[in-house]
Symmetry: C2
Amino acid sequence: MKSTAVGEVLRIAEIFGPTIQGEGPLIGQPTVFVRTGGCDYRCMWCDSLHAVDPHYRHDWTAMSAEAVLERINMLSGDVPLLVSLSGGNPAIQDFAGLIRIGHTAGHRFALETQGSICRDWFAALNNLVLSPKPPSSGMQTDWAALEDCLRAAGDGPEIALKIVVFNEDDYAYARGVGARYPHISLYLQPGNHTPPPPEAEDAPIDVEGVMERMRWLVNKLAEDRWFTPRVLPQLHVLLWGNKRGV
Amino acid sequence: MKSTAVGEVLRIAEIFGPTIQGEGPLIGQPTVFVRTGGCDYRCMWCDSLHAVDPHYRHDWTAMSAEAVLERINMLSGDVPLLVSLSGGNPAIQDFAGLIRIGHTAGHRFALETQGSICRDWFAALNNLVLSPKPPSSGMQTDWAALEDCLRAAGDGPEIALKIVVFNEDDYAYARGVGARYPHISLYLQPGNHTPPPPEAEDAPIDVEGVMERMRWLVNKLAEDRWFTPRVLPQLHVLLWGNKRGV
């Protein structure tokens, strides 16, 4: 099944909004989320398993880029806004077509990916957030792939790095990323030990634990006199808990 | 009492950090705060009365720019970082000298002011946050003065506008600001109905009320399809309540 106009048919887990981007460099920005289905990673603390585990693939919808754009326009009332491509790992699919027709409609596109798969169309994005996964995820970082992502993006999008931090090992990993890429904006994000189970989205959430790790991170930076990264929580978790679609 | 080297002696309410900037365009950024004493405004919901009301002026310290820089360097361990000039209204004093010698030491300078008083040295800042006060403050905006501030800053600093929003009137005011300055980044911030009383900093704080106004604001933007401003809470209030010095 191919859409000749704008490329592959896309596997979409959910499209929702407008709400605000809850994390990273665009925190607070009104946006529509396009969450794609499927991922090449299995992070231990994944907070979007419903978009990752093939067990939930019957909940994903096959959509053309045109149909995705139509849904975005419906949600935004045809007013241009920021579209956030998230997952899963959106880079396992081809979003070149959606970005092209979306730009024509006036939208901007931000993508978040772990940086394990590089795509030519990264250069067409407005924002690229590379979020390599720290030791607590159980995943190994493929640094060569991350370099490829940076190269593919080139001077196209604004680029930022975002590292989730649960513990000292993750923090050491984040310091390494900061040392490796001193000229790229770096964001640290306290991890959430109570991510939503994919089938019970209103499960309770340990907000105080997240805030405690946030305070710990701020103290770490102060102690280590590491003043370059920004530290930001997942605002949507504080606002809406694990509720989905906001 | 004059410091011939770098200008006027400064009235300083407090210098603290490193912590993170809790609000506005630099949210999450490690910084040392220099809170100045004195203000030309008396906002109904002022959250820094200890730096505004002359009743507390015996707690303010007269310092030279050199002494302020020495204190910043002590707190930062001589590692360059972002210095946040706040108040009160820091624009009632002359910070040209501090910015000059601070830049030489590698620091960057951000200033937040309501935009009621314009200064030539705004052009030397790295970031300028203009925060004109909405109707709920009880203050009147002097638009000509705000224009003067923008003109004085010119292309020097990155400029942002930040509006505190408590209610529908404030929201309408914010929309007006957005319409007036479509090319300047705009931040909306839910108001805090339980600001710290100046003499009891550990007073309880209505976090849920702030979050409720935050959700209300996000919904307003979505309903009105107003997708340009960012909505951000005061992160330090969520992390530390009304505690001072963090």
